[in-house]
Symmetry: C2
Subunit: 121 residues, 2 copies
DNA sequence: CGGGATCCCCTTTGATACTG
DNA sequence: CAGTATCAAAGGGGATCCCG
């Protein structure tokens, strides 16, 4: 359905890059991962470097509860579960893109101000 | 310079309304409070219902450090300090407005999904 | 494979009291 | 007025181990 997720797709998005945050720590990244189509649990773990199963489960459950994505479990062996954005979840991409655009244009200024502050103190 | 801040200006913005968050818990609201011009410390405390001086100071210091606002202390008695948005701080209004627009259009759907979930469980 | 159960830590946030 | 100092609480996030 979709290309494999790039393990480094968030390389340019350190936590400092997120004065703008959507939902909890992982919501925005999960949304990005699902942008191109449904994904499996293990598939999501790859770009979300170091996320533990517990935390990923919690984030996915919260998003499911809020109607941002659907969870579909297939009764197979081995088990297979797919997560897919709903229209509501997809609507988050608009403010997310506004946030990313802000980072592209202004984050450098913010970091420069922060460095200057540390240098002065 | 500017009209007094409405103590209830954030009445329609419960925490649940913020799947989109800018900076720490108070950054976005402080930015809104400064939108119309410089404000004093005590002036800011009014709409930020219940914020303690400590937390307000911490938030303001962090924003100053990041170049989002300036702090000007006038050597008078009684003391007077004014906080004012920089251009960088003002640039946050764009993604903030995108987030507010999302809330206006979709928050109702999110809350409905959440309620349905609770009802089902 | 896709989790659940436990335990724990640390940061964020707040309450309270005091001060130049 | 505009903070600072200290303490306490809370919850988000993570480590580790286990399971159907």
């Amino acid at each position: 359905m979709a290309e494999p997720l790039d393990p480094d797709m968030f390389a340019g998005c350190p936590p400092v890059a997120a004065p703008i945050r959507i939902g909890d720590k992982w919501t925005a990244k999960i949304t990005r991962c699902l942008e191109a189509g449904p994904r499996r649990f293990t598939e999501l773990q790859v770009p979300l470097l170091g996320i533990t199963p517990k935390v990923l489960t919690e984030s996915l459950r919260a998003m499911e509860r809020d109607g941002l994505l659907t969870r579909t479990a297939y009764d197979e062996i081995p088990p297979r579960v797919e997560y897919e954005l709903t229209d509501l979840g997809r609507s988050l991409l608009t403010p997310m893109n506004a946030g990313c655009e802000w980072s592209r244009r202004h984050l450098r200024d913010l970091l420069r101000a922060r460095d200057a502050w540390h240098a002065a103190s």
